[in-house]
Structures are given as C-alpha cells and as structure tokens.
C-alpha cells in the first residue's frame, strides 16, 4: 500500500517538476532580497547566512506544501482514493515523505546560492545535509497535515502559513543554530542537543499527524 502511495507521489512530483523549479526560483529571490535587508557588510551577512537560508526555505515551503494538494483537490482525487479504500494514514505518509524529499531538495538547491551570496563557508557538508533532512522532516509532517486542511478552506494562501509558522518555531530555531554551529565550528558540543531537539520534534509530529490525518480528510 505504501509503495502504491509513494509511486503515485513520485509520478505527481515528476509531472510537477516545473512547479518545484519555480518554487526554487522564489527561494533564490528571497535570499537575494535578504541581502539587501542585511547587507552589504559582508561580515554581518556571513553571520546571518544560516538564518536567511532557513527563512528562505520556510517561505518556499508554504508554496511547495500548498501546491502538493492542488492536484488532489481539483477533481477530488484524494477523496477518490479514500473511497477505494486507501487508508488515510498511508496517503498521509506517502505525501509527507514526498514533501520531505522535495523540501530537502529545495534546501540543497538554496544552499549553493547562500554560499555564493553570503560567502558562507561549508566545512562540514554532510552534517549540514543531515540538518537539512531533519529540518525538512520537521516542516513536512505538520505542513502536510495543515496543507490538506487549508486546501479545502477559504483564504488558504493566508491560512497555511498562519497555522504553520508559529508551530515550527522550534524547527526554525534548532535548524538555524545547528547550521551556524556546523559552519562556524562547535567548541562546546552544542550541535548534539539541537539535533536532539529536531529528532524529538519529528518523533512527536510524524506519528501524531499521521493519526490525525484521517479526521482531517473525512467529511
């Protein structure tokens, strides 16, 4: 069942590649704008780079997440699958995993732009990739749940970030701190505790959102 859901998501992602690229371009534009807000002092920009990177990814994520339910809603395809019946939890985890991968890919795409624009050094690229995946997972689980819900409400463009942003404050804080530490060095060994916080957030929200998704999509 999960493989059916994953294959469906892979197909949808592949067909929606142009949209993903457009979201990446949006994220790049945001990075460029942040430098006008914080620059042109290159020292200050370098220091703020992790924050700007994650803000750009957070802003892009609301676009990517809400688009991920556009296709489901247009002809009520999601409802059609639920009536087959496909278990709601399976559909949720398929969608959330796809969104996790998409956000991690967006982050990996934004990273080189941040390196170029802000002169951000990359001494530990693999650590950073790990943080990127954990952070994307933290955005993807509640983000998928809230995108499913706001896709069927009025004013959904406002609703999704309004609901999601306060919720993911811990993810943002942990990711920015962890990214800074991986860039500037970690003499006090604090990276571990921020990673732990991200792991805890995911450990709470992946099961919880999977459990609640059924109630969100039933009508």
């Amino acid at each position: 069942m999960l493989s059916a859901a994953l294959r469906k998501e892979a197909l949808l992602q592949w067909r929606g590649l142009a949209r993903t690229l457009a979201v990446l371009a949006f994220g790049g534009t945001a990075l460029l704008l942040f430098s006008f807000a914080g620059g042109p002092d290159s020292g200050a920009l370098r220091e703020q780079a992790p924050g700007y990177l994650w803000l750009a990814l957070l802003l892009s994520s609301t676009l990517a997440l809400s688009e991920s339910f556009d296709g489901e809603q247009e002809q009520r395809a999601l409802e059609g699958l639920l009536l087959l019946p496909a278990p709601a939890a399976v559909l949720f985890y398929g969608k959330a995993l796809a969104n996790l991968l998409q956000l991690a890919a967006l982050g990996s795409g934004l990273l080189p732009m941040a390196v170029v624009l802000y002169d951000m050094p990359l001494p530990r690229p693999w650590t950073l990739l790990g943080i990127l995946v954990l952070g994307s997972a933290g955005l993807a689980a509640p983000g998928t749940l809230y995108a499913a819900l706001s896709a069927r409400a009025r004013a959904r463009q406002t609703l999704l970030p309004l609901l999601l942003f306060p919720l993911v404050v811990p993810v943002l804080v942990a990711c920015v701190k962890a990214t800074s530490l991986s860039v500037t060095g970690d003499p006090m060994g604090q990276l571990r505790s921020w990673t732990l916080l991200l792991v805890c957030f995911n450990a709470v929200y992946w099961p919880l959102c999977g459990l609640l998704f059924d109630r969100v999509v039933e009508s």
Binding site: L162, L163, L167, V169, P170, S193, L197, L208
Partner: protein, 231 residues
C-alpha cells in the same frame, strides 16, 4: 429552567464572583501589600501578571481537553466549549504579552526581553489565533469542529517544545526569575487574583460556549422555506 438559562446564570455567577475577587485582590495588591524593596511599585504588576499566566495556560489546557473530547467522543457541546476556550485563551495570552512588555520596560529598559516564558506565550498567541482564523474560514460546522480540534491538539503539543527551544536559544541570557513572593502579604493578593481570574475565565467560557451553541442551532436548523413546505 432550560439548559440554556442554566448555563447563562452559571456564567453570570462565575463572572460576578470573579470580578468581586479581582477587585478585592487588586485592592490588596495596590494598597495593602508592602512596597517591594528592590523594584518598588513596578513589582505590583505581578499581582495581575502571574495570575494571568497561570490562567492562560490553564485555559489552553482546557481547550486541549475539549478538543480531545470532541475527537474522541463527538458531540457539539465539546466544540462549543472549544470555541469558548480558544477565544478566552488567545485573549489571556495577548494580555500576558502586553503585561510582560509593560513589566519589562521599567525593569530591563526594553519592551521585549526574549524571556522563554513570554516568548512561548507570544508564539502560542499566534498559533491559537490561527486556529480562530481557521474556524472563520470553514463553513461546514462538522468540518470546522473537527479541524479546529485537530489544530488545537497539534498546537498544544508544541508548547513544551517551543519553551525548551527558546530557552536553549536564549541560554546566554541569564534567566530572570519572578520576584520572590515569600511573605503572606505578597501571597494573599496573588492568590485572590488568581482565583478571581479563574472565575472570570470560567464565566467567559461558559457564556461564549452558550453563544456558540445558539449560533450552531441556527445554522443546523433547516431553512425557513423547508419547514414551511413540510408543515
């Protein structure tokens, strides 16, 4: 007496008791309690600030319980109570942020200090404000109730995580503790106001839930054209 009247009277009684307690507590806090040695009169804001904090947390916890009860057992009454608790909870968190700012300005010279408790409150204010917005953007009552309950659970579970993340984030900053309230002269106004606030909160939730029930009844009733056709 109908259930409608009963809840109206109960809410009114709660409000009355609460306001009386608040008046008495404020009198104690402003006039009777001694001046604090280090902070002076500014410290007296604690007599409303701390009770607000306790009750805001209590109110959001109540919202969480109502949300779980709605999803678990169903029943419109839980949704109506959830609506009341959400709005009062947001109101109290908003008040708490304002009081925190007023307190921070003379004490630390800034309006906002990124204190973990105050910052968590601000995050929760926006999180639950979003849920109230969600309620107003969904027309189908059953869907609105379910979604609000889901969002309340998701947001409430976040409270400790936000608190710890902000605390670690701001760990360089020395933790400010509340002024020690040792003597009974400090305790009494604090407790009186805490109970006063509790009764006001319970009264507001009761009355707001009653209003929600009325609106729901109007929304769920068949349109007048239909009833005429049937009779």
């Amino acid at each position: 007496m109908t259930r409608e009247e009963k809840s109206g009277r109960l809410g009114g009684a709660f409000l009355l008791i609460g306001v009386l307690l608040l008046l008495f507590g404020s009198y104690l806090g402003l006039a009777v309690a001694p001046r604090e040695r280090f902070m002076g009169d500014v410290q007296r804001i604690m007599y409303v600030h701390v009770p607000t904090a306790w009750n805001a947390m209590l109110c959001l916890t109540a919202a969480f319980v109502f949300a779980v009860a709605y999803l678990w057992k169903g029943g419109w009454r839980w949704d109506c109570r959830l609506e009341g608790a959400l709005e009062v909870g947001v109101l109290l968190s908003g008040l708490l942020c304002v009081q925190g700012s007023i307190w921070a300005r003379p004490t630390w010279g800034v309006w906002w200090d990124w204190d973990p408790r105050l910052t968590t409150t601000a995050v929760m204010f926006f999180a639950f404000l979003g849920i109230i917005a969600l309620r107003s953007f969904v027309d189908d009552p059953a869907q609105r109730a379910t979604w609000a309950a889901v969002a309340t659970i998701v947001a409430y579970v976040d409270v400790p995580i936000v608190y710890f993340s902000v605390r670690w984030w701001n760990s360089l900053h020395q933790m400010q503790s509340s002024p020690a309230t040792v003597s009974p002269a400090f305790y009494l106004p604090l407790r009186t106001n805490a109970f006063g606030m509790l009764f006001v909160m319970a009264g507001f939730i009761t009355l707001r839930a009653r209003l929600a029930r009325r609106r729901l009844a109007a929304q769920l009733a068949p349109p007048p054209a239909l009833t005429r056709a049937a009779s």
